[in-house]
């Protein structure tokens, strides 16, 4: 199987999706001629024309609103929001409109829009180029929230999102765009929405992590192994609807769980995962469910490395759970 970066894998999913389905169109700021600020859509305008790869005015509410209208009228828009930090101007269109169209019309109108956006820290982007807003969208009923961490998953999940009937917030861990490589199946490849990936098997503790934290979790698991602790790493891939079955199956076996994310800790998605685990695994738990997360501060510029969870911080939580 050929190797690709996360960026190439997402690019290929877009290209193949557009080639397969003439209803798929891309829209966003700089996605056309420039090919996106991360060059994700490079070459797509040349190949598919400016009617399918659309450079829009700078207005995120307008972009999502227009995409909703296009989806109502039979298109399959894939929106790029230049950075997740700039999705807030479109919050009303996403929360009040996109997420609710099916419900409020009892299925008469649906808006299968995919909103792709580079998310998370690790690029020295400071507060406005680093945030992880997944919890806002998980909290909004009607949205599917996806965050892949491997190239194969990124390609397969984006293909599923583009072929699905529900709106999807597709968060891309931009720190991994060019830093991870992996095997990616050629041609049509789908990873089902709502199925977790077991990134590493283990027996003593379950570590749940997504996005750019998934490789951090794997490193922490390596450190733990050196101390004789066998850690299972689960990457949910789809944050919502969460594959709770895979997580519960693992925790019931290991008896311990740590959840890891880079978004701020309080009311982060980890809180929901922890609550679900304690509801379902209570009698199997040998230790409290711990969270390792970003701090409840704005995302800092100079101290980014201190803010972001690293394998040592994760290891400390693993040790605490083992020693409880």
């Amino acid at each position: 199987m050929p190797q690709a970066t996360l960026l190439q894998a997402i690019h290929d999913a877009l290209l193949e999706g557009m080639a397969r389905d003439p209803r798929v169109i891309l829209l966003g700021e700089d996605v056309g001629r420039e090919g996106g600020v991360f060059r994700m859509t490079q070459g797509l305008m040349r190949r598919f024309g400016q009617e399918r790869v659309i450079d829009t005015p700078l207005n995120e509410g307008g972009i999502i609103g227009m995409a909703i209208g296009m989806a109502l009228n039979g298109m399959r828009p894939v929106v790029e929001i230049e950075f997740a930090d700039f999705i807030y101007p479109a919050f009303d269109q996403i929360v009040s409109e996109l997420a609710k169209m099916r419900y409020r019309s009892a299925g008469q109108f649906t808006a299968p829009v995919v909103v792709r956006t580079p998310s998370g820290g690790g690029i020295k982007g400071g507060h406005y180029h680093s945030q992880s807003p997944e919890a806002y969208f998980v909290h909004t009923s009607g949205l599917t929230v996806v965050m892949p961490s491997t190239p194969a998953d990124a390609k397969g999940l984006l293909a599923s999102a583009m072929g699905g009937e529900d709106p999807v917030i597709f968060l891309e861990p931009k720190a991994l765009y060019r830093t991870v490589r992996g095997e990616v199946p050629e041609g049509e490849h789908r990873v089902p929405i709502g199925e977790a990936r077991i990134a590493r098997s283990g027996d003593d503790l379950t570590l749940v992590a997504w996005g750019a934290m998934a490789p951090v979790a794997e490193k922490a698991a390596g450190l733990a192994a050196a101390e004789g602790v066998s850690v299972e790493v689960i990457d949910p891939r789809t944050l919502w609807p969460l594959d709770i079955g895979t997580i519960v199956g693992s925790v019931n076996r290991t008896g311990r769980a740590v959840i890891l994310h880079e978004a701020p800790r309080s009311c982060g998605f980890g809180a929901e995962v922890a609550a679900l685990i304690q509801e379902r695994c209570f009698l199997h738990l040998k230790a409290p469910v711990y969270r390792v997360a970003g701090f409840d501060t704005p995302f800092p510029y100079a101290l980014e490395k201190s803010y972001l969870p690293d394998p040592r911080r994760v290891l400390a939580a693993v040790r605490a759970a083992m020693a409880f």
Partner: protein, 356 residues
């Protein structure tokens, strides 16, 4: 862009320069729909006062806007209405039972009681689901029109909204996108002088709302919103231009909301009885009746008969809708996603178990 187009002159005759020249049967249809809309509103308010429904958004005084615009639409056109445009729905053939069912939120509601009253939709006439946040439908109307344009279809979209809506970011976004992409979109602003209590002078310092179109690179027109023939003409022309690839238009229809903003509002707090009385004199239905009488198409007897017929149609529809059972409570969890996910299935099962 500050002058206003009218058709029906003070003496009840039509200005031949602007008259859209509708056939007699269409003129009578317009009248009947306006009368039906007035009867519908009066009944809905009475039902709310009697405690049989919870809430309603009346459109009395603005019938010429929604009915006139609705008549200009064709099959295939998309409608992105505000909560005050049930006249468009009625004009396009949406059954009274659909609107009333939505108000009652029972099994007669095709949208299963999902929203508060006055938030309807009807897929069969491409009338997209109304939502409460003001003006969110505007960029969506641009998107639907753009999709049609990209496919080479000769259809247009209309987005309707109030004067308050022109202050939102969505208005700016939609107008700007429509201008840039030259979409077949008609922005239909019903300037009824107030956004709840706030007068239009607090929405803008511009000389009109129509003039705003200039900044986006397309036409803005002001029309007499209490003159159904003028609305029909201006909206009809704008839609025809849109379908012909000549781009968007902003229409400002000058009108007045005779009643409260909603059944929860007390307009005596913010406007004088004299002001309301002056606008009552310009009632769009009476004005159109005078025109039709002048043309020999109606007389006092047929005007009374139309009102009675409208009342009876509404009464019958209320009877049907009131007899419908409540929405089944399992439907609470449906239509959130295309398929029921596990967490909603669990919540449903727990609720069902609790009922046993």
């Amino acid at each position: 862009m500050d002058s206003m187009i009218s058709v029906i002159r003070p003496d009840g005759t039509a200005d031949p320069e602007q008259d859209p020249g509708l056939p007699e049967e269409d003129l009578l249809l317009l009248y009947r729909k306006m009368a039906l809309l007035r009867a519908f509103d009066e009944k809905a308010i009475a039902l709310q006062r009697a405690g049989r429904i919870g809430f309603f958004v009346p459109s009395a005084g603005q019938e010429a806007c929604s009915v006139g615009a609705g008549h200009a639409l064709r099959d295939g056109d998309w409608i992105f209405p505000s909560y005050r445009d049930h006249g468009m729905a009625l004009m396009r053939g949406c059954p009274l039972e659909t609107l009333l069912g939505q108000i009652y939120g029972n099994a007669a509601d095709p949208t299963r009681g999902r929203q508060m009253p006055s938030h309807w939709c009807d897929r069969s006439i491409r009338l997209v689901s109304v939502s409460s946040p003001v003006a969110t439908q505007l960029p969506q109307a641009v998107g639907a029109a753009y999709a049609a344009k990209l496919r080479g279809e000769k259809v247009a979209s209309i987005a309707s909204f109030g004067d308050g809506g022109t202050s939102t970011g969505e208005f700016h976004a939609a107008m700007n996108f429509a201008g840039v992409f030259e979409t077949p979109t008609v922005f239909f602003c019903e300037n009824n002088q107030y956004a709840i209590s706030v007068p239009v002078s607090r929405q803008t310092a511009a000389s009109s709302l129509a003039v705003k179109a200039q900044a986006y690179g397309f036409r803005g027109i002001r029309v007499d919103g209490n003159d159904v023939l003028a609305v029909r003409k201006v909206v009809g022309d704008a839609l025809a231009r849109a379908r012909d690839g000549k781009g968007p238009t902003l229409i400002e229809a000058l009108t007045y909301r005779i009643g409260p903003h909603s059944t929860s509002d007390d307009p005596t707090i913010y406007r004088s009885a004299e002001e309301v009385a002056a606008w009552r004199e310009k009632d769009p239905i009476r004005r159109f009746a005078a025109f039709l009488s002048g043309r020999g198409l109606m007389d006092d007897a047929s005007i009374d008969a139309a009102a009675a017929e409208a009342k009876e149609a509404v009464r019958k529809a209320v009877e049907v809708v009131e007899a419908a059972p409540p929405v089944p409570f399992e439907s609470l969890f449906e239509d959130v996603y295309a398929e029921l996910p596990w967490h909603l299935a669990e919540a449903r099962d727990a609720l069902l178990a609790g009922k046993e």
